[in-house]
Subunit: 450 residues, 2 copies
């Protein structure tokens, strides 16, 4: 065991600080007592057995890019940094799958896959570790086409609180589908480290599309942008990305990146497919957006122009932060049925203005999921209080519309009370039953989710 302040030359402490740099406004930094750096599953298991014997909390740590305080050691204990387990294993090109260890990030995997014609699409923005993305049920900009981690994980190797090594779908198995017993894989996906430590993830891969086209389109209102989205999906366009930025966000991006987008609600779109299919997708989509009062498309085909076109979306986080230099940002994460999206966005924008908060909006609008990137001064307790009240109101607005308080960031520390409101006591009790069954001593990442 090495201390978190040890001389490992390690970014561990840095990483934790960086993580809390991002959301310390909402989640106070809670360092663990000890950090360990196991190199293989057997070491993870042996260390877990030690913790189990001595009743020490276990906090798994991947890249620390989570947004809900999931790596905070609220009861102290041992942080399992998995940075020394970073191999890509068992790439099966013809089977469209690959196995990764915990510190392999999505960008590292896609770099590894570069010459295979395959890629892993789930993209939460940050260059998160894939096992961490499994643990938090991450998704992101192209979930509308490729699904979330829930649809992408075929099998997991997990170390339980007592050191038991579990293979959720059986050791080494990777069929594309199965109905063999309870779906343990999807019980651990999204369990946020509270049921076990994910030490290997088997991922489903996709063929790199022959053609990719990006487009940007401005709208007179939130309603017309969302109506277009619904109609595009109804028309069966297999759109790969459809991202919404509100006027405040567009303005922030224009300033940050010296762009000149029209300051109105805007959709950023991406189409994947064969040359002709993409061409047709663009045409159908442009017809729909124009019938809703959208502008002509700005569109781009080659990678460089596409990146320039999407720069606003890619830089949204930093553009928001730049609105108030020296401040911090916190991202809300509600998700509602598509039909309720215009109303909740309009009400939320009014709420932001009324309460003098800076909160540009970016959303995975094809899933009904959007984020207010609230920029706040964490040293101002009065503002902090206003933000807390705002985020609670926003979550309750989503719940009143049959939605969820968290579409993709998870519950972590901050949304435990909201989760109870969302699910009701019976559903929470059943979750607690499962937690008690798998981790009776409550050692796995205690204080999170439940």
């Amino acid at each position: 065991l090495r201390s978190i302040c040890g001389d490992d030359g390690v970014s561990q402490g840095e990483a934790i600080r960086e993580q809390h740099g991002k959301d310390e406004s909402m989640h106070r930094c809670r360092p663990p007592d000890v950090v360990v750096f196991p190199r293989c599953v057997e070491e993870v298991s042996a260390l877990a057995r030690v913790c189990h014997k001595h009743h020490l909390p276990i906090i798994p740590f991947g890249t620390g890019t989570g947004l809900e305080g999931g790596v905070g050691a609220v009861k102290g204990g041992v942080c399992f940094s998995l940075r020394k387990m970073g191999q890509v294993l068992d790439l099966h090109q013809e089977d469209f799958d690959v196995t990764v260890e915990p510190s392999v990030t999505r960008k590292a995997l896609n770099a590894y896959l570069r010459d295979t014609g395959l890629w892993f699409p789930v993209d939460p923005g940050a260059d998160a570790s894939l096992c961490g993305m499994a643990a938090t049920s991450a998704s992101g900009t192209n979930a509308v086409r490729y699904g979330t981690m829930r649809e992408s994980v075929l099998n997991l190797e997990v170390v339980l609180a007592d050191g038991t090594i579990l293979h959720t779908a059986g050791k080494g198995r990777h069929p594309r589908k199965t109905s063999a017993g309870y779906n343990l894989t999807n019980l651990f996906v999204g369990s946020e480290g509270t049921l076990g430590i994910i030490t290997k993830t088997v991922l489903r891969l996709h063929g790199i599309p022959e053609a990719t086209v990006s487009a940007v389109c401005s709208f007179p209102s939130v309603q017309t942008a969302v109506d277009s989205t619904v109609q595009i999906l109804q028309a069966g366009v297999p759109i790969a990305r459809i991202e919404f930025l509100d006027d405040v966000m567009i303005d922030a991006c224009n300033r940050y990146s010296a762009l000149s987008y029209q300051v109105t609600p805007t959709l950023f779109l991406e189409f994947h497919g064969s040359e002709r299919s993409v061409e047709e997708q663009v045409k159908i989509t442009e017809n729909i957006t124009q019938s809703n009062g959208g502008s002509d498309f700005q569109w781009a085909r080659d990678a460089e122009t596409r990146n320039r076109l999407w720069k606003a979306r890619h830089d949204a986080w930093y553009a928001s932060l730049a609105l108030r230099p020296g401040c911090k940002a916190y991202a809300t994460d509600v998700c509602v049925p598509l039909s309720r999206l215009p109303q909740i966005i309009v009400e939320t924008k009014d709420d932001l203005i009324e309460n003098r908060l800076t909160g540009p909006i970016a959303g995975h609008v094809g899933d009904g999921n959007f984020h207010c990137l609230i920029v706040l001064d964490p040293s101002d307790p009065e503002e902090l209080q206003r933000v807390h009240l705002f985020t609670d109101r926003l979550a309750r607005r989503a719940l009143a519309m049959s939605g969820t308080c968290t579409g993709e960031h998870g519950v972590g520390l901050g949304k435990k009370a909201l989760l109870r409101e969302e699910l009701g006591p019976t559903t929470i009790q059943v979750m607690q039953l499962l937690k008690d069954a798998l981790d009776p001593k409550n050692l796995m990442n205690p204080g999170k989710i439940l």
Copy 2:
């Protein structure tokens, strides 16, 4: 409570007999002591409380179309026939979702949706109830494009063994994605009635494609048919259905339906999309199949011709049965990584011949999943024994290739021992922990899965 032999004018007894007519060769009919016909979730809950108090097994019954003996009452007890709960509720067209009660079948739902431009794609062949399909994690011919029930269920209402009414994602919630706590929805999907009775399912719907084209293509070998499949997927063709029939099955279909397909390994394909996209998908696919020695496509665009073209595939079950009039059929269900499919099919065909068994093969080849429809005389114990040994060898062959003994039919009664081999003792123990946590008296569909 009414007896199963009661005068309800009811197909209950019929249905159970019909179910066992299908697979009595493998699973002996095990009638329950009593059948109840609750009309609403409150009645299901009240009846479950009675059973719980008196330690009576509870066996949920939908349409009885399952293939693994899931409705057999191996310990007697009370069959909950859910046929009186048959409403389609809460269709949200703009949100692409709908809620169904237990006796709504997939065909009934699609008839209900006819004028909405939406449909529910999962198609296991039988006109199964959708809640039953959730319970068994069903999939079928178009899972390659639209996923299985695991990807299609947004929320479930479930009655637990003690009568508790649970909403897996919170009552009334239907966002398209969520990361709010443990994924209880997918714990109950595929639990085969052993964790609770599904009384409502919230399903994700899809837009009806503008154009559908079907095609049929013959190949010189199993290998070339499967190679074509892999290449079609690698090329990113969003194929909706890609079904394999072996020479024996084609021969059976030719005889049964007076068709004249070439008696060789054959792919039945279906393409969904816009007019132009479908046209291009067909073109890319035909290039691939021809480069693998496939025949020219027979293809069809209008519904009637498509149905005629696909008749062989649709009638595969009955065509197989007709090979030996008076006999019964049992479908195997292994699923392996795509790259292993040619080898396992070739070895399995050799095994069938060596052991003098009639077993035409049909497969969801895009998922690596295939069925031998074994036609057997259930009154011949020697043949029955040969079939048992064959199915065990087939499953072990799949397990040795990193696959599963059941891609979509579930475990039920017949694959419990194979499940242990597939998953290993630790994974089974974790499943048992969950079962014990949710159903400590082992009342829910006892004797299945574990």
